[in-house]
Structures are given as structure tokens and as C-alpha cells.
């Protein structure tokens, strides 16, 4: 086994454990932080897969903005800090586990049957090339996505505004 493979397996293992932590811990903050670690490990994995730009975008956007947003959300919704046994819906645990496990089996079966091969990329991704493709081939989705961001922005502000002048939400 090469070093590459060992590192990859290690990263995958850690990925799994942190993701597990995200969904099973009873501490809200611990869950959010575990997600940070998951995302970071994902970025490392991307680096291993020679997708540098995506890894960096992940770190910037996801960890930098989204998780912060989450923490703000946790704070504003007064989520009970510290270990809180009420975080999990006990009724759903069994059924959820069964369903999740069956989905796992299903997906792995499909993926393993469908795809086989080796990682063929051997050089770093050219960011310049990525940018060119993004703005020539994918310019249309690019613009649309910017619209989506605009809509999300406006929508987020409107929804979360605590304005007395806003009497009726329907007037928006």
C-alpha cells in the first residue's frame, strides 16, 4: 500500500467517526463542531483527489460561512447548551436506524456495482482552467446561481426581519 492510500483510508475513517458524532451527540455545539471537522476532513479528501479549488471553496464557504450561520442559529433559537438528552427523538430511533442502514446498503450496492476503477487523476487541477470552463461552458448556471443567491439573500433578510412596520407578511 502506498502512502496515498493509507492517508486516504485514515481520512475516510476520521470522516466516518466525525459524521457519526454529528448525528449522535446530545450536545448541540458538539454536533456543530463535529460538522466542522467533517467538512475539514472532506476538504482534505478533496485535496487528496486533486480538487484543490473545490477544497478551498469548501473551507471558505461551508466552514467559514455556513457553520457560523449555524452557530448563530443555535444561539438565537436558544438551543439548550450542554448535554441535553432531549435532543434525540427516541421514538424515531429504531425506524430511523433501520431506514438509514437499508439506504446505506442500497447505495453501496448500487455504487459498487455501478462503478469500478481507479483514481486516474495525477496532477493538480488547474484553477485557471476551472475558471475558464465555469465562465464559458457553465456561464448560464453560474448566472442562475447568482440569482438564487440574490433570492436567498433577499428572502433571508425579509423572513428574519423583526420590523414593526412589517405588519402583514403577505404584503411582501
Amino acid at each position: 500500500m502506498e502512502l496515498y492510500e493509507i492517508v486516504t483510508y485514515f481520512v475516510l475513517l476520521l470522516l466516518l467517526s466525525t459524521a457519526l458524532r454529528v448525528v449522535t451527540t446530545t450536545n448541540v455545539i458538539h454536533a456543530a463542531v463535529s460538522l466542522v471537522f467533517t467538512l475539514a476532513l472532506t476538504a482534505v479528501l478533496f485535496l487528496l483527489l486533486s480538487a484543490e479549488f473545490v477544497a478551498l471553496v469548501l473551507i471558505l464557504v461551508y466552514i467559514g460561512a455556513v457553520i457560523v450561520l449555524f452557530l448563530f442559529g443555535i444561539m438565537i433559537t436558544r438551543a439548550p447548551l450542554g448535554k441535553n438528552a432531549e435532543l434525540d427523538n427516541d421514538k424515531n430511533k429504531k425506524a430511523g436506524a433501520v431506514i438509514a442502514f437499508s439506504i446505506f446498503l442500497l447505495f453501496s450496492y448500487i455504487l459498487i456495482n455501478g462503478f469500478s476503477g481507479e483514481i486516474a487523476i495525477d496532477q493538480a487541477t488547474s484553477t485557471q482552467l476551472l475558471g475558464e470552463i465555469l465562465l464559458t461552458r457553465f456561464v448560464f448556471p453560474f448566472e442562475i446561481v447568482s440569482f438564487v443567491l440574490l433570492a436567498a439573500l433577499i428572502g433571508g433578510i425579509t423572513l428574519a426581519r423583526k420590523d414593526e412596520a412589517l405588519i402583514d407578511e403577505d404584503q411582501i
Binding site: 483510508y9 475516510l12 466516518l16 459524521a19 454529528v22 448525528v23 448541540v28 454536533a31 456543530a32 460538522l35 467533517t38 467538512l39 472532506t42 479528501l45 483527489l49 486533486s50 480538487a51 473545490v54 471553496v57 469548501l58 464557504v61 461551508y62 455556513v66 449555524f70 448563530f72 442559529g73 438565537i76 433559537t77 438551543a79 435532543l87 434525540d88 427523538n89 424515531n92 430511523g96 436506524a97 438509514a100 446505506f104 453501496s108 455504487l111 462503478f115 469500478s116 476503477g117 481507479e118 483514481i119 486516474a120 487523476i121 495525477d122 487541477t125 476551472l130 470552463i133 465555469l134 461552458r137 457553465f138 446561481v145 433570492a151 436567498a152 428572502g155 433571508g156 423572513l159 428574519a160
Partner: protein
């Protein structure tokens, strides 16, 4: 190196995310789990891109889009959770069951 382990882990992440959606009581935790799912999809895309050594780099570009959309979605999602919290003073999604029989 072979791709199978990565695929399996991606599937595992996906199912963990599903588990999280089904099990978590707090609305923000549910959104967290959704992030996990989106993340696993990202892994898959990038892996396929690496596997195929795609000259167009479709996988990675798509992954960028997914990240973008995920960010927008989280923004909106949290705004909604905020509004719900303002109405009911709780983020427990079990409390929001008005659309029942």
C-alpha cells in the same frame, strides 16, 4: 487507488445524514444533517471527476454549484427556523404538527 472505499464512505455519510434527519429533534440539527448529506454528494462528484480525469472537470464545477446552493439553502432554512422560533418559542420540530388530521 481503487474508488470503492470512498464510495462506501460517501454512502455511509449519506445514510448518517438520513439518520440525523429522522432522529434529531431540534430543527437546526436537522439542517445540520442535511449539510452532511450534501457533503457526501460532493464527495461523490469529486471522486468521479478524479476517477475519470475529466478534461471538462464537470464534477468539480458541479460540486462548486452544490456548495453555493447549500449555502443559500442554509440561509433560508435558518431564517425559517428563526421565524418558527419567534412564533412558538421553541425549535422542537415535533411541536410544529399543525398540518395533521
Amino acid at each position: 487507488m481503487i474508488v470503492q472505499p470512498v464510495l462506501i464512505i460517501a454512502a455511509a455519510l449519506f445514510s448518517l445524514g438520513i439518520y440525523g434527519i429522522l432522529v434529531r429533534r431540534n430543527a437546526v440539527m436537522v439542517l445540520l444533517s442535511i449539510e452532511l448529506i450534501l457533503n457526501s454528494v460532493n464527495i461523490n462528484f469529486v471522486l468521479f471527476d478524479a476517477m475519470l480525469a475529466d478534461t471538462m472537470m464537470n464534477g468539480q464545477i458541479f460540486s462548486i454549484f452544490i456548495i453555493t446552493i447549500a449555502a443559500a439553502e442554509v440561509g433560508i432554512g435558518l431564517a425559517i427556523v428563526l421565524m418558527l422560533f419567534r412564533n412558538r418559542q421553541t425549535a422542537n420540530i415535533d411541536e410544529f404538527d399543525l398540518m395533521k388530521w
